[in-house]
Symmetry: C2
DNA sequence: GATGCCAGTTACCTAAAGGATACCAAAATG
DNA sequence: CATTTTGGTATCCTTTAGGTAACTGGCATC
């Protein structure tokens, strides 16, 4: 197949779609935390520095709605709640990896131009 | 060299650094537009749907401060102003490409699960 | 029976992002 | 000479994101 070339309008539209889903300080950090084995509410909260319960609760709901995270209630005693990432969430990995790389490099760059 | 494995705390930190620089509805669309040959203020505005002059002006200043865009005034008659992306801005390309890909796929997915 | 952990909810508030509208001077165009 | 284009500013306003703090009910522990 020929590699499709997107128009600039399409590129902008798709980037904005992506931004709409992942933007904000917390959604990606939360997904990273869950993906790393933090499945309980308090575990996630501990893994994501400085997030409050209120914000975490709200963001988890958003992520559920966008089918990136699944909430499961186990009928144990006491009930436990588990959050897991969906396969769809994992499709974000290449993008997130690039974001991590860029952020790491960016921080190194800032040190160089603004030393001491 | 051994491939360095980042801790979850580091991953979260770097992602948040990146988000801090690119977040908002407009910064990436503006960079895409400039990179595609829209160098004049009004050209950029036309290329980025629905952005207002006020917001574009402010975002361009932010991008200049972050060394992602350069503003050049040509002493012609009348004076012309040209915006160009820096080499540093181009280092965002792999990430932006992944975001475009994901957004395209995401839109296709939404069509499937919510047809007509 | 007081304290603490879990998984949140509720109400309130502030700061920032973004939008709407109007306006400006200088030059070009019709 | 009226209009349009360029590269923006200035005001004002609304919306959203995010933070603070208190509280809940159920269970477990000391």
């Amino acid at each position: 197949m020929a590699k499709k070339e997107l128009s600039i309008e399409q590129k902008i539209k798709y980037v904005q779609d992506t931004l709409f889903v992942i933007s904000g300080k917390w959604k990606l950090p939360i997904m990273i935390a869950i993906n790393n084995g933090n499945n309980r509410f308090r575990d996630i909260q501990r893994a994501v520095p400085n997030i409050t319960t209120r914000v975490l609760s709200k963001e988890l709901k958003d992520l559920e709605e966008n089918r990136l995270v699944v909430r499961t209630v186990y009928d144990s005693l006491p009930v436990t709640v588990s959050y897991t990432v969906t396969p769809y969430c994992k499709s974000l990995k290449p993008m997130v990896d690039e974001m991590i790389k860029w952020g790491e490099n960016h921080r190194a760059m800032l040190k160089k131009i603004k030393p001491a």
